[in-house]
């Protein structure tokens, strides 16, 4: 019988669960985020984007407050014969006087078909759309990202089941989901947000999963795992920061989707309830007059386009700042 060589058993090893393995990273991450901030602030395009978005947010807050008209006020008067004359379809004017019964009113963006001031309504609409977009995108990001990362990380059966759920959720046409939802809650902003929540996280989760599939085989993940890090720790503390680029880009793309979807929902009658308005519903109503009164559709479209431009620039800047490259240092 040969000399007994010690055969290590499973019990001889234990995961280093108790050890604080974040020490290193805390230090690293501090300077990492500081670097991100510096990089971001130096990015001229990102700053322009930020400027646009900030200006729009300020106008969305102050525009309706500073306007002499309420967003649902119909501007009208009753003439001597008892007929109501409504300031509908007035093209943009400063109100410096001239011809017409409403020459002394200032309508910077003109008025809509009901004689309401479009300046007020545009910013009111921007406010509603921004609230909807921010709330849904933020929640969707959390849900979609976690879902996609977990699904991609574990792979195998977990991934299979989770992807089947995604397929089921994604395969039911949105209109059906929203129509059914409308039974359980009143129509309006709340319904739009819930409807968007139910459908928009999927895109995010797909991106996150694809990123996870790409990253999880890399050495540092293996190293962490060997060092005994929890799966959740690896997913959210180590892999997540490396997936943030595509996810932020996806967020920036999700904002127009959210706003367009809202417009679509308004179109089929489950969106914002009139006389409340959103950028989407303003585009929708301006669309009915696009060749006769083109000024009606321009303000919401321009605000929408600027918002998108701004968010895209910020997204780009953010993405590049988060993943500093050698050449930038």
């Amino acid at each position: 019988m040969a000399e007994m060589t010690y055969q290590p058993t499973k019990e001889d090893f234990e995961f280093l669960t108790g050890r604080d393995i974040t020490t290193d990273q805390n230090f690293a991450s501090q300077s990492y985020w500081k670097g991100v901030a510096i990089h971001f602030l130096r990015d001229r395009r990102a700053m322009i984007g930020l400027g646009i978005v900030v200006v729009i947010i300020i106008l969305a807050i102050l525009g309706p407050i500073l306007s002499p008209y309420g967003y649902r006020d119909i501007v009208s008067f009753t003439d001597e014969t008892g007929k109501e004359v409504v300031a509908k379809g007035v093209s943009p004017q400063l109100g410096l006087g001239g011809d017409g019964p409403f020459a002394d009113h200032m309508f910077l963006f003109g008025t809509d078909d009901l004689g309401r001031d479009l300046w007020t309504r545009t910013w009111q609409g921007a406010r509603v759309s921004l609230i909807i977009a921010f709330v849904t995108i933020f929640i969707d990001m959390i849900i979609g990202m976690s879902y996609g990362l977990i699904s991609g990380y574990f792979g195998g059966a977990v991934d299979n089941i989770m992807q089947r759920i995604v397929e089921v959720a994604n395969s039911v046409p949105r209109l059906v989901i929203v129509s059914v939802l409308a039974i359980f809650m009143p129509k309006g902003m709340g319904l739009v947000i819930v409807a968007l929540l139910l459908t928009e996280w999927i895109g995010m989760s797909k991106i996150a999963r694809a990123e996870m599939l790409r990253i999880k085989e890399q050495e540092y993940v293996l190293a962490s795992r060997t060092l005994g890090a929890h799966s959740m720790h690896i997913i959210f503390k180590q892999i997540l920061p490396n997936t943030i680029g595509p996810i932020i880009t996806q967020m920036m793309f999700s904002i127009p989707t959210a706003i367009f979807t809202e417009a679509f929902l308004s179109f089929v009658g489950v969106g914002i309830m009139l006389p409340q308005c959103s950028i989407g519903s303003l585009i929708e109503s301006g669309f009915n007059n696009i060749t006769t009164l083109p000024y009606q559709i321009l303000p919401p479209i321009i605000v929408l386009a600027l918002q998108m431009l701004g968010f895209n620039f910020i997204g780009d800047g953010f993405r590049e700042a988060l993943a500093p490259k050698l050449e930038d240092m």
Partner: protein
């Protein structure tokens, strides 16, 4: 790999069955009435419901529906195009939507890839900014607004394209809607291609390849694009489903009888047409699942690492 694909196909079919059931239940609790009527008496409507078997237990109804489906029978409309069998109506709409959508996908992807590659290869230079701004415009302006302008200028001001869609001159009359539809795809593809390529171009293995003297088209296609394509395929896949299943507003403006419009008519038209909503829902799901299946398999082709891990996960 073959075993993996077969297994995936089996799973996809099972998922589809589950979805059909979910849809079946959802459609039956939707608000609205399958027999919207201002003129029929309550008992007339009750008779119609009984005739369609809507009062039977839901599982019985589902079984009956599945039997029909296996024979390729989607039933008839209750409140939409009542007389005609659903499959003939859908067949026409599908062919229109698929052809216009397909055209849009091809145009969007090709132009998007070109823009993205150009931008990435010229990172930080004028061409990069130009391509970026150009592609941002596509996500900033809704496609239907673009179509309205195209229609106004090219069909009305100068009549080089027809004002409405005309099935008998298909290609000619689908150019404007296809361009409008492709915008979003183009922008999305361009932006993702650029971002991914920039990231990949900075990776070690590309630097290695460069240091080995590899350059030009070979480097771009073999090393950069191939890796950059993975997330692009992910974003492209749902877009493809959306494009193929039609764009409601564009179809409405241009007078196209496509499936997007059909879906809205079925849900938000005169009544809630159970059979149409179901048939279109099933179609949509089948397409979606089919394309996701292709994407999953494509991942394997594009990235060997995933292929390996899929195999392991499978074992």
């Amino acid at each position: 790999m073959k075993k993996y694909i077969l297994k995936r196909i089996g799973l996809a079919l099972a998922t589809l069955l589950l979805i059909i059931f979910v849809l079946f239940v959802l459609v039956r609790i939707m608000p609205g009435n399958p027999f919207p009527s201002e003129r029929m008496s309550a008992e007339q409507i009750a008779n119609k419901r009984a005739e369609m078997g809507l009062d039977d237990p839901i599982l019985v109804q589902f079984g009956r529906y599945m039997m029909g489906l296996l024979h390729g029978d989607f039933g008839k409309g209750t409140s939409l195009y009542y007389g005609a069998p659903i499959k003939t109506v859908i067949a026409t709409c599908i062919s229109n939507s698929f052809r216009i959508g397909g055209l849009a996908i091809v145009m969007g992807t090709v132009v998007g890839l070109l823009l993205g590659i150009t931008a990435a290869l010229n990172k930080g230079h004028f061409l990069d900014h130009f391509c970026t701004v150009f592609s941002i415009l596509g996500v900033c302006v809704p496609g239907y607004v673009f179509l309205i302008f195209l229609q106004y200028y090219f069909s009305y001001k100068i009549s080089i394209f027809p004002y409405f869609f005309d099935g008998s001159r298909f290609l000619y009359s689908s150019i404007l809607p296809a361009i409008s539809l492709s915008l979003f795809t183009m922008s999305t593809v361009a932006r993702f291609t650029r971002n991914e390529m920039v990231e990949v171009m900075d990776s070690d293995y590309v630097h290695l390849a460069e240091s080995k003297g590899m350059y030009g088209a070979k480097l771009v296609t073999r090393h950069i694009l191939r890796n950059a394509l993975i997330p692009i395929v992910t974003v492209l896949a749902p877009l493809v489903v959306d494009l193929l299943t039609g764009a409601l507003v564009i179809e409405k403006i241009y007078g196209i009888n496509g499936i997007g419009k059909l879906m809205v008519d079925a849900i938000a038209g005169e009544g809630v047409d159970y059979n149409y909503v179901l048939a279109l829902g099933i179609l949509y799901s089948a397409l979606y699942i089919g394309i996701m299946l292709v994407v999953d398999i494509l991942y394997g082709v594009l990235d060997p690492r995933i292929r390996v891990s899929a195999k392991e996960g499978d074992a």
